[in-house]
């Protein structure tokens, strides 16, 4: 089985996010990127399939943020090849454009299973995986927690629903799967192996084919959470405090 895993970088929330002068975008100067968590799980899912059933795993990422680091780490973890799509704007692409770019890049690759994270902190409404399935006219299932081969050209996926419900769905390959989590947490890859891979392996760099997509919605204003109401602080002796609390509860109709 040939598996392609699409990886994307998202802002690392360990740093405080700053808004740039335009007021409509993050200030990339202070931005640190990290692999999106569910993409990390998608890669782990692919590597588990490789370990258990044999597969060839290639990873692909758009060239922004720390793409090199993420791709080399994926090779160190066990991916067989890594493709970097170059010519991407510094801040990355919109979700629709990203999906279209991946579609173009995947056109020339024989792949049975495309895995990617179902959502990311900058793609909470889970656009990329679903749109990619649509653009490529392939079956798509999202929010999975397990992918297992089931017979020739098919996989059985477990999909999660709200409220703890789950479904087992058989999907005919080729297909796009939006992974929520792998059956086990992403494995640790020692630093020595990443450094070794960085010395001995190279990334397969390919010029991204510019994708024509309808205009993305424009962000007018980006802002940090603004506190609307302030907490009311109570003061006084315990007896006075108790009286005040009772009064507040009565005023709001919460106490008889």
């Amino acid at each position: 089985m040939n598996i392609t895993v699409l990886l994307s970088m998202v802002p690392d929330l360990v740093e405080e996010l700053e808004i740039d002068a335009s007021g409509a975008a993050l200030d990339t100067q202070w931005l640190r990127y990290v692999i999106s968590e569910s993409d990390d799980h998608a890669l782990e899912q692919a590597l588990l399939l490789k370990d258990r059933h044999g597969a060839s795993v290639s990873v692909m990422a758009l060239d922004y943020g720390d793409a090199d680091q993420v791709l080399f780490a994926a090779l160190a973890r066990g991916a067989d090849e890594a493709v970097k799509l170059t010519g991407i704007p510094e801040a990355g692409l919109g979700k629709r454009a990203a999906a279209a770019t991946f579609k173009e890049a995947l056109g020339g690759i024989r792949t049975d299973l495309i895995l990617t994270g179902v959502q990311a902190i900058d793609d909470l409404d889970a656009h990329v995986a679903g749109m990619l399935g649509g653009m490529m006219a392939l079956p798509y299932v999202g929010v999975t927690r397990s992918v297992e081969p089931s017979g020739e050209g098919k996989v059985l996926v477990q999909k999660e629903y709200p409220g703890g419900a789950a479904a087992e769905i058989e999907v005919t390959l080729p297909a796009v799967i939006g992974v929520l989590s792998a059956p086990q947490p992403p494995r640790y890859v020692p630093v020595a192996r990443i450094r070794e891979v960085m010395k001995t392996r190279t990334l397969d760099e390919r010029e991204a084919v510019p994708a024509t997509v309808p205009a993305e919605p424009a962000i007018i204003r980006l802002f940090k959470p603004e506190s609307a109401e302030h907490a009311q602080m109570l003061d006084g002796s315990p007896e006075e405090l108790a009286e005040q609390i009772v009064k507040i509860l009565e005023d709001r109709g919460l106490a008889p």
Partner: protein, 667 residues
């Protein structure tokens, strides 16, 4: 008349003894060969340097037995037993000198004072030691001998030794009576035994003498033949393990097995060094390591003694091809055992024969880490450290945030020269419990006019603990990053807050080309409180106790500087029972601070330690000199309910109290 005794009296056929000895000797040599062949399985490790120092160690520890004598009962019984045996063996050799070289060792004053009196008294001592040992094994049964599993191999040996010693006295006693030896009382042991045979007919005496002479010889030969297959083998192997002991600082971990086909670290015996394997046969199962081990005492599954014994059984089974395919890492030594170690080094300090458990454990950790086989919280920490350069997973830009709000400006040493480069370290920089002490240290140093600067966000974690969990690649990456930054700075000395940081900068960074002197902040404070240094405005008249951090004290021998500081402040220092080299780990070291607590913990090391401090009479302050201890002990006083009884203070905070006139609320 010259005092003397006749050589081989009553044993006409004494030359037969060599024929009798031969089979025993063959068995002995075979046993020694088999044992030594096992060590050759290990990989090379040159240990032939500094021969003189090595020999002195053998004399001090195998001969005089300083370490063994640290304990009264066990020390005395071992010393009497072994010195008695040395002397008796020497006397036997001296008899041979007379027989073959004609040296008159059995006549004159030498015979009377040494061969009779001294040797006999040592024989009595050995007998007393044997009795003490049997009493200890059969009646007293100290826990460390029977846990995690007993070592009954010694009982049969002690009985055999008793038979040898007693039969020797019987032989002597019979000779004294039968020959009416006028100097018999000069052999007090033999003379005492002789009293039992007075009045026996001459013929009976001579017959019994021949029987017991041969019995004594055969018992001694049996001991020799049995020696390499028994726990007595430590008589031969312990001097070797002492001779080949590591002369490197404890804080300088060996480079390790390198990346062969089986990966880095040690997953099998072959990847340990020959010295590691020799250690296994040197172990006397005394259990002193275990009795000092914070992992074992807190209820974790690791006992250093158990580890060594399990590895030894594995080594022997392996060559017997009966190990049932058990893997060294995972089956013989479980993951839980490997990860339980705090690397505090107490086992190294206690071991009378210089066995080195910590490097063995780290080798196994290196293997596990190379396989990605780490627990979830450790994985998060290692990932964070490689990404952000600190183990707390915080922004590297926030590293010097602790300096905000200080009324002093701290030099950026990347731009300005200073005498000290203060390597602050992860915990002192980021940990809320430790930051107050870091700020106190900064204020004290500033007020005292110490010329220092910090690296701000140019500093990364030192990698000491990353190395101790086996993440060698991460360690090297951190070293390279830090060295690249530090090489661009001008300074004379490095000062550190964290003893772990101190350790690796001092002992391990030099391999990468770092040549700067490294001092701990307690040493800098020590320089400041000297009479010509900072003016102390206020005496701290309180009773305090001081906890020696493992990586500062036991690892690097800094015991006195913090104590001198406390005395200079006017504090009355009361020592805990476990102090200096015997200090008890707080439970943070070896990367344990990053891991989930092992299941089945009875009492955390830090809890044991604060109870020890609180038990001291009228001591209300536990002084620390390590930022990790602040967090560990503050937690521990809460969980033990000792919050009202014991305050945890950093050394720098106390210095600040003593140098500030107005002791304001925040101090």
């Amino acid at each position: 008349m010259t005092p003397m005794r006749e050589l081989n009296w009553n044993i006409a056929e004494h030359k037969l003894i060599y024929a009798v000895f031969l089979p025993f000797l063959i068995v002995f040599l075979w046993g020694v060969f088999v044992t030594m062949r096992r060590w050759l399985l290990g990989r090379p490790d040159p240990r032939w340097d500094r021969l003189w120092e090595r020999l002195v160690g053998v004399v001090a520890q195998a001969g005089v037995q300083f370490r063994i004598l640290r304990e009264a009962y066990a020390g005395v019984l071992h010393a009497t037993l072994s010195w008695g045996f040395f002397v008796l063996l020497a006397a036997t050799c001296l008899v041979l000198l007379q027989e073959y070289l004609g040296l008159p060792t059995l006549q004159g004053p030498f015979y009377l004072y040494f061969m009779s009196l001294v040797v006999d008294l040592f024989g009595v001592l050995a007998l007393v030691g044997t009795g003490m040992a049997l009493l200890r094994r059969w009646v007293l049964k100290p826990k460390r001998l029977v846990e995690p599993r007993g070592s009954d191999g010694y009982s049969v040996l002690l009985v055999l030794i008793f038979v040898i010693l007693a039969s020797g006295f019987v032989v002597e006693g019979l000779r004294i009576v039968a020959t009416r030896d006028p100097w018999g009382a000069w052999s007090p042991g033999g003379w005492l035994f002789a009293q039992a045979f007075l009045g026996m007919p001459q013929e009976g005496l001579e017959r019994l003498h021949r029987i017991s002479w041969w019995g004594h010889a055969v018992a001694a030969f049996a001991f020799i033949a049995y020696l390499p297959f028994s726990r007595a083998m430590h008589i031969l192997v312990a001097p070797l393990s002492i001779f080949f002991r590591s002369l490197e600082p404890l804080g300088r971990l060996p480079a390790g097995g390198g990346a062969g086909a089986e990966g880095p670290g040690a997953s099998s015996l072959r990847q340990l060094t020959w010295k590691h394997l020799l250690d296994l046969d040197a172990c006397t199962e005394c259990g002193r390591c275990q009795a000092a081990c914070p992992a074992w005492l807190s209820g974790a599954p690791l006992s250093p003694k158990g580890l060594v014994l399990d590895l030894r059984d594995h080594l022997r089974a392996r060559l017997g091809h009966s190990n049932g395919g058990r893997a060294m890492v995972g089956d013989v030594i479980t993951r839980e055992v490997i990860w339980s170690c705090f690397t505090c080094g107490a086992c190294h300090e206690m071991c009378p024969v210089y066995i080195e458990p910590v490097p063995k454990i780290v080798e196994m950790r290196r293997f596990l880490t190379s396989q990605g086989d780490v627990d979830a919280t450790l994985q998060d920490t290692l990932t964070a450290t490689s990404r952000y350069g600190n183990s707390l997973g915080q922004s590297p830009r926030a590293r010097a945030r602790w300096t905000q709000g200080l009324d002093v400006t701290i030099k950026d040493i990347r731009r300005e020269r200073a005498r000290y480069l203060w390597f602050v370290g992860d915990y002192a920089s980021y940990d809320p419990a430790a930051r107050d002490a870091t700020r106190a240290a900064a204020r004290v140093l500033h007020r005292a006019g110490v010329d220092f600067g910090i690296l701000y966000d140019g500093e990364s974690g030192s990698g000491n603990d990353a190395r101790r969990v086996g993440e060698e690649g991460l360690f090297e990456m951190l070293v390279e990053k830090n060295l690249a930054t530090m090489r661009g700075c001008e300074f004379d000395e490095i000062m550190t807050t964290d003893p772990h940081t101190y350790n690796t900068l001092k002992n391990e960074y030099p391999r990468f080309g770092a040549t700067w002197p490294v001092v701990h902040y307690s040493e800098v404070l020590d320089r400041l409180v000297q009479p010509d240094g900072v003016r102390l405005t206020r005496k701290l008249s309180r009773r305090v106790t001081y906890h020696d951090p493992c990586y500062l004290g036991r690892y690097n021998g800094v015991f006195d500087a913090p104590r001198r500081v406390l005395r200079a402040l006017g504090a009355e220092l009361v020592e805990m029972p476990r102090n200096r080299r015997s200090s008890y780990c707080c439970g943070a070291g070896g990367g344990r601070i990053w891991m989930k607590e092992a299941a089945g913990i009875k009492e955390r090391p830090a809890e044991s330690r604060v109870r020890e401090a609180a038990a001291l009479d009228a001591v209300g302050t536990l002084v620390v000199a390590c930022p990790k201890e602040m967090a560990m002990f503050r937690d521990a006083v809460k969980t033990t309910g000792l919050e009202d009884r014991l305050v945890i203070k950093d050394l720098a905070e106390l210095v600040e109290e003593a140098t500030t006139l107005e002791v304001s609320g925040h101090a």
